[in-house]
C-alpha cells in the first residue's frame, strides 16, 4: 500500500479515479433510489473533487504517520542490533505506537538492569583480585623468613652455635605468624560466606571481661603496658549483669581489639576494658591511651587489609584482618562498632549487647 502510493503521479491518478468512482456511485444512488443527495450535476462534480482532496489529505497524513513509525522501528532495530553486539550505552526511543513504546521501555529497563549487574560484578571482581593480591603479599614475608632461616641453617649455620637456636626459633615464630594469618583468612571467608555459626547464650559480662583482661595481661606486660577493668557500678555490687551473645566470638572481638592496641603502642600506655549498663542493654568498650586514629581513616579501618600506617603494620605482625573480623562478629549480634579517637590521645571502640 505504502509502496504503491509512493509515487506522486500514481497518487494523483488514484485520487482522480477515486473522484470519478465517487461521482458515479453518487449518480447511481440518485438514479436508482430516486434520492436527492446533491443539488444537480455540478454539485456531484464538486462532491467528487472534495472527496479527491480528502483522499489526498488522508493519504498524506497516513503516509507521514507510517514514515514516522517506520523510522522509530528502524531506530529500535538498530539499537537492538547494537545491544546484541554488546553495546549497553544504547537508549531506545520510548515513542511511537503503544506496543513499540512498551518494547523500547522494557528493553531500556533490561539494559539498565544488565548494566547494574555488570558494575556489581566488576566491583566484586576487582575486590577479589585486590584480596588475592593482598593475601599473596601478606604471605610472602613470613614464607621468605621461614625458607631463608631454614636454608641458611642447612647451608652450614646449623653448626654455628651463636645463631643456630635463634634461627630455628625465628623460623618457628614466622610459621606461627603464617598460621595466624591463615586462620584469620579462613575465619573471614567463613564469616563473609555466611557460614559463621553463632551460639547465643546469656552470660555474665563482668566476669567475662575480667577473664579477658587476665588473659591478655602477660602479653601486654611484655611491652610494659597496663590493662585495667572498669566495671559499671551495678557490677561492683557483685550482682550478675547478664548479656546475650556468643561468648567465644565475643572473646575473639576483645582479643583482636586489645591485641591491636598492644601491637601499635610503644612506651607507656594503658588500656581499659569495661561496660556501662543501659535500660535494656549494656555498652561494652575497649578504651586506650594509644596513638589514636586519624579521622580520615576511621571510616575505613574495618575494611580487609586496610592499614592506617601501611608501612608499619607488617612490622608489628598484623594480618590486616583483625578489625574486619570484629565488625562481622559485632554485626552478627545486631550491633555496630562505634569508634571515637583522637590522634596522640587514644581511641575507644564500643558496641551494645542486649540484656
Amino acid at each position: 500500500m505504502i509502496s504503491f502510493f509512493s509515487s506522486y503521479k500514481l497518487k494523483v491518478i488514484a485520487a482522480i479515479l477515486l473522484g470519478i468512482l465517487v461521482y458515479f456511485i453518487l449518480l447511481f444512488v440518485e438514479n436508482e433510489f430516486s434520492l436527492t443527495i446533491s443539488f444537480g450535476e455540478g454539485h456531484l462534480v464538486l462532491t467528487a473533487i472534495v472527496s479527491t482532496i480528502l483522499f489526498f489529505i488522508f493519504e498524506e497524513v497516513f503516509s507521514a504517520y507510517s514514515k514516522r513509525q517506520s523510522k522509530i522501528l528502524s531506530t529500535v532495530l538498530d539499537g537492538l542490533k547494537r545491544i546484541s553486539a554488546g553495546d549497553l550505552s544504547v537508549q531506545l526511543p520510548e515513542t511511537g505506537s503503544a506496543q513499540l513504546k512498551q518494547i523500547s521501555e522494557l528493553t531500556n529497563q533490561i539494559v539498565g538492569n544488565l548494566k547494574n549487574d555488570i558494575t556489581k560484578l566488576e566491583k566484586l571482581e576487582s575486590m577479589r583480585s585486590e584480596f588475592l593480591a593482598n593475601v599473596s603479599h601478606e604471605l610472602r614475608t613470613p614464607i621468605f623468613s621461614i625458607q631463608g632461616f631454614i636454608e641458611t641453617l642447612i647451608d652450614g649455620a646449623i653448626d654455628d652455635p651463636k645463631v643456630n637456636r635463634d634461627f630455628l626459633r625465628k623460623a618457628y615464630e614466622h610459621s606461627e605468624r603464617l598460621n595466624v594469618l591463615l586462620n584469620d583468612l579462613i575465619e573471614i571467608s567463613r564469616i563473609e560466606s555466611g557460614e559463621m555459626r553463632m551460639s547465643f547464650r546469656y552470660f555474665d559480662i563482668a566476669e567475662f571481661l575480667k577473664n579477658i583482661t587476665e588473659e591478655m595481661k602477660p602479653k601486654a606486660a611484655k611491652k610494659f603496658l597496663k590493662i585495667a577493668c572498669e566495671m559499671d557500678v551495678s557490677a561492683q555490687d557483685h550482682h550478675e549483669v547478664l548479656v546475650l551473645g556468643d561468648r567465644e566470638r565475643l572473646r575473639q572481638v576483645f582479643y583482636n581489639l586489645i591485641d591491636n592496641y598492644i601491637k601499635y603502642t610503644d612506651g607507656d600506655g594503658q588500656i581499659c576494658v569495661g561496660f556501662t549498663e543501659l535500660p535494656n542493654s549494656v555498652r561494652v568498650f575497649v578504651r586506650d591511651t594509644g596513638c589514636g586514629i586519624g579521622e580520615e581513616h576511621i571510616e575505613r579501618i574495618f575494611e580487609r587489609f586496610y592499614r592506617v600506617d601501611k608501612n608499619r603494620s607488617r612490622g608489628v605482625g598484623g594480618t590486616g584482618l583483625g578489625l574486619a573480623i570484629v565488625k562481622h562478629i559485632v554485626e552478627a549480634h545486631k550491633s555496630k562498632v562505634e569508634v571515637k579517637s583522637e590522634l596522640g590521645k587514644g581511641s575507644e571502640f564500643s558496641f551494645v549487647l542486649k540484656k
Binding site: A133, S136, H137, E138, R140, T141, I143, F144, S145, Q147, G148, F149, E151, T152, D155, G156, A157, V163, F167, K170, E173, H174, D309, K310, N311, R312, R314, G315
Partner: protein, 227 residues
C-alpha cells in the same frame, strides 16, 4: 670488601640477609626506615643498597628518588627486595632507576648471586674504556658522572647517565632498546621497553635545547647525533 646496605623494617629479615652476606665476605650496614636509609647511604657510602618498598617514614620509592637526587648517593646501585609482586610496582621500581627488582620470597643463595651480578655490572661500567666524551656542545664525563651543556653542569642519576653515555659513545649508530636493556640492566633482570622510554624522556628533559641530540628510531631504538 664490598659494603651492602640492607633497608628493611623487619628485623628478622635484616638479620637473615646480614648473616648470609657476611658469610660471603660482604660488609653489611642496615637501616630500619627510609630516613635512616638515606642517612646511612650518604655516610657509609655502600657499594649497593638492598631496599624494601614498604618502610616506615619514607617508602622505598621515595628513598630511591632521594638517593638519585643526591650527587653523593646517585651512583649507588639499588636492588628492590619486596613482597610487592604486582607488575605495576616492578615497572615503577625499575623506572625510578633500580638495577633489579626481586620479589620475596627468594632463596638467600639466589639473592646473593643477584647482588653479585649487579655489583659486577656496576664495576664493569666503571672500568669501560673512554672516560670523557667531548662533542663541543656537550661534554659527558664518566669520572665525575657529570654532563656539561654550554658550560652548565647538569646532574644525571646513574641509570640515566649510563644510557646517555652509552648512546654518546656510539655516536651516529642506532642502538636498539634490547642492546640498551642488556648493557645497562644486564640479562638477568626483566625490564620492559617502557622503562627505557621513560629514562630517555627524563634524559631529554635534562638536555633541554639539546634534547634532539637523541633521535628516536621508530620501532628500533635510539641514536645519538653530535651535530
Amino acid at each position: 670488601m664490598k659494603t651492602v646496605l640492607i633497608v628493611d623494617d623487619e628485623k628478622d629479615i635484616v638479620q637473615l640477609i646480614r648473616y648470609n652476606l657476611e658469610r660471603e665476605g660482604f660488609r653489611v650496614e642496615s637501616a630500619l626506615d627510609g630516613d635512616e636509609a638515606l642517612k646511612k647511604a650518604s655516610e657509609a657510602k655502600p657499594d649497593l643498597i638492598l631496599l624494601d618498598i614498604m618502610l616506615p617514614a619514607k617508602d622505598g620509592y621515595e628513598v630511591i628518588k632521594s638517593l638519585n637526587q643526591n650527587e653523593k648517593t646517585a651512583r649507588i646501585p639499588v636492588i628492590f627486595l619486596t613482597a610487592k609482586s604486582a607488575e605495576f610496582d616492578e615497572v615503577l621500581g625499575l623506572e625510578l632507576g633500580a638495577d633489579d627488582y626481586i620479589v620475596k620470597p627468594i632463596s638467600p643463595r639466589k639473592l646473593i648471586s643477584r647482588i653479585r651480578a649487579v655489583l659486577r655490572r656496576a664495576e664493569g661500567v666503571k672500568t669501560e674504556e673512554g672516560k670523557s666524551l667531548d662533542y663541543g656542545k656537550i661534554v659527558i664525563d664518566r669520572d665525575s658522572y657529570t654532563v656539561k651543556i654550554k658550560d652548565a653542569q647538569i646532574f644525571f642519576p646513574r641509570k640515566e647517565f649510563e644510557i646517555l653515555y652509552y648512546l654518546a659513545a656510539h655516536e651516529g649508530k642506532v642502538i636498539s632498546r634490547e642492546t640498551l636493556l642488556s648493557r645497562i640492566w644486564g640479562t638477568d633482570v626483566y625490564v620492559g621497553d617502557r622503562t627505557i622510554d621513560v629514562h630517555i624522556r627524563k634524559i631529554r628533559e635534562k638536555l633541554g635545547e639539546q634534547a634532539e641530540m637523541i633521535e628516536t628510531i621508530k620501532g628500533v631504538g635510539y641514536k645519538f647525533k653530535a651535530e
